[in-house]
């Protein structure tokens, strides 16, 4: 690929320092993410997928620590940045759709407050009226109607699918270049899943770089351009989606694919 990656991770290591041992959740991961492509990260539960995605935005909590590696975003190694500078990148350059939308939102805040928090962090100068208009636009873009009613709702008042859409809307609000989606459709119905995936496809076609973290090989086969297979914190296989599905190199990938029916 001649094009430069928008996000390039080199030898990233995130370890958890527990009392009696060290857990190497991410152990030397390198990967590239390109504009207008969907990069899927596949692995079983406990393979380090989610910790890796949290590490990109430096969101790993104690006792976890990023102990090495580089994360290059548009020619800047964001591992060198301070917390204050990172705040400007989170949500604006790289944003994230978290797993389990209902528990990822603050249960005592309305949807409106969640959306406003993003706006106030990244676009301070605009008026309240303008902000409301922005929120409505983004909610319509992710396929929600009744936007006024949704903005006045609390997360628990929405269905799983609606909540996931609000989550996507939150991720899109500051128009990021890169969207990291951690299991965006597990626990959703087939039909709702189809609608959310359609939405991600549309974003990709509009030029966004998407990192899709999932254990569902169906989602990967249908959506991804590039695939990385993660096992015990290490990348064991990678390539285009056709490479990985049709000529898997690692035994683990072969085992994963053999289990499909």
């Amino acid at each position: 690929m001649a094009e430069q990656p928008v996000l390039s991770i080199k030898n990233l290591k995130t370890y958890f320092y527990l009392e009696e041992r060290v857990v190497k959740a991410v152990d030397g991961v390198s990967l590239d993410v390109y504009k207008g492509r969907i990069t899927a990260i596949v692995g079983g539960s406990g393979s380090g997928k989610s910790v890796m995605s949290l590490s990109i935005l430096d969101l790993v909590d104690n006792p976890g620590k990023i102990i090495g590696g580089e994360i290059w975003l548009n020619g800047v190694n964001i591992r060198d940045l301070r917390e204050k500078q990172l705040l400007k990148i989170r949500g604006k350059e790289i944003s994230m759709i978290f797993q389990e939308p209902i528990s990822s939102m603050n249960p005592v805040l309305k949807v409106k407050s969640h959306l406003f928090e993003v706006i106030r962090t990244h676009k301070r100068a605009i008026s309240n009226k303008e902000a409301v208009r922005l929120c409505r636009d983004v909610l319509v873009r992710v396929g929600l109607r009744n936007t006024d009613q949704i903005m006045e709702s609390y997360p628990f008042e929405l269905s799983g699918g609606m909540c996931q859409r609000v989550m996507v809307a939150l991720g899109l609000l500051a128009q990021p270049q890169i969207l990291i989606a951690d299991e965006p459709t597990s626990s959703l119905d087939l039909t709702t899943q189809a609608a959310i995936l359609e939405e991600l496809m549309r974003l990709k076609n509009a030029g966004m770089a998407i990192v899709l973290i999932t254990h569902d090989l169906g989602v990967v086969a249908q959506m991804a351009d590039d695939v990385y297979v993660l096992k015990d914190g290490k990348i064991v296989d990678s390539g285009t989606v056709y490479d990985v599905f049709e000529s898997p190199r690692h035994e683990y990938t072969k085992a994963l694919l053999a289990a499909i029916f």
Binding site: D189, A194, E198, Q222, L256
Partner: protein, 318 residues
């Protein structure tokens, strides 16, 4: 097919949860279904469509608001708790969400001995023997006897759930989402296990799932439900499906092959209104083919062939 081949027959079953409020909301609406002896009947549909409620109605864990339930030619609709207790050892359920289906203070031995304590008066040693042989049949061993629910992985808990359901050698088992939320390798193992156990014990299953691939692999017939109504009954969910909702489900299924990408994955109108319409077809608000008659008349479940039933006014011309 003779009458005696039917294990379950349910006739015009309704289940309504908010009796006092209006409008009434039905989880199951005017449903007729027979389950034949020895078959694996699949039940698919999205969350909140009444799948689990239907399963619970069969076992009388829920009392139907209207309609009759026949089990082995006996009308069990009005059976009392004690009457049900006598026949309940022949019908069991593998519950959804296996993490919450066990008492957290119980060890595996206690979990599995619970049904035995209710129905058999054997010695402790005899029971223990039975439990161990059951555990081995589901691919675990006696080292698991002293474990608690939280000390096991999802797949292991699922197996314990299966062992608990089968320990009394029932005739009929409701498997409520027995393979959802576990990964592919484990799913394959559990499906093989269910098939083996079925052959060994001559079981009849109602297999509730939203996993179309698993349902196709396992089931003899599949019932498709939408908002409390049966919209289609078909041997397998494949290109023969006729109802627009089943077509939408099939299109939304993700095929794990990058060369077979679905271009048109969304074959339904997206609405947030998921209530049963007051009259007409249940799927009218999301159907791509809705016409006037769909808003006024509810289509009956009509046979296309002897094994294929569809509830749609226009199934022959879209």
């Amino acid at each position: 097919m003779g009458e005696s081949m039917n294990l379950f027959e349910i006739k015009n079953i309704y289940k309504c949860y908010n009796k006092k409020e209006k409008p009434k909301i039905y989880a199951v609406y005017n449903t007729n279904l027979t389950i034949r002896k020895g078959e694996i009947l699949g039940l698919v549909g999205e969350s909140g469509c009444g799948k689990s409620t239907l399963g619970k109605l069969l076992l009388k864990l829920e009392q139907p608001s209207r309609g009759r339930i026949m089990f082995n030619q006996r009308d069990i609709t009005d059976y009392s708790f004690n009457q049900m207790r006598k026949i309940r050892n022949s019908m069991q359920m593998i519950f959804q969400g296996n993490a919450n289906a066990f008492n957290p203070y119980f060890t595996v031995e206690q979990i599995i001995s619970e049904p035995l304590n209710n129905y058999s008066h054997e010695s402790k040693e005899k029971k223990r023997e039975k439990i161990i042989s059951m555990l081995e049949q589901v691919g675990l061993n006696q080292t698991y006897l002293t474990r608690y629910g939280h000390e096991m992985s999802g797949g292991q808990r699922q197996r314990v759930g299966i062992a608990r359901a089968l320990i009394l050698h029932p005739e009929f088992v409701v498997c409520d989402e027995a393979v959802s939320s576990i990964d592919y390798a484990m799913k394959n193992q559990i499906l093989t296990l269910l098939t083996d156990l079925k052959q060994q014990f001559g079981l009849t299953y109602l297999f509730i799932s939203h996993d179309i691939a698993a349902v196709n692999k396992l089931c003899d017939r599949v019932v498709v439900m939408y908002l409390g109504n049966i919209v289609e009954i078909i041997p397998t969910i494949n290109s023969n499906v006729q109802h627009p909702y089943t077509k939408a489900l099939l299109a939304a299924t993700l095929i794990p092959n990058p060369r077979k990408r679905e271009k048109n994955r969304v074959l339904f109108k997206d609405t947030e209104e998921l209530k049963i319409p007051e009259k007409g077809c249940v799927f009218q608000n999301r159907c791509l083919y809705t016409r006037e008659v769909c808003q006024t008349e509810q289509p009956a479940l009509a046979p296309k062939t002897s094994e294929h039933y569809i509830a749609c006014h226009f199934y022959h011309n879209h």
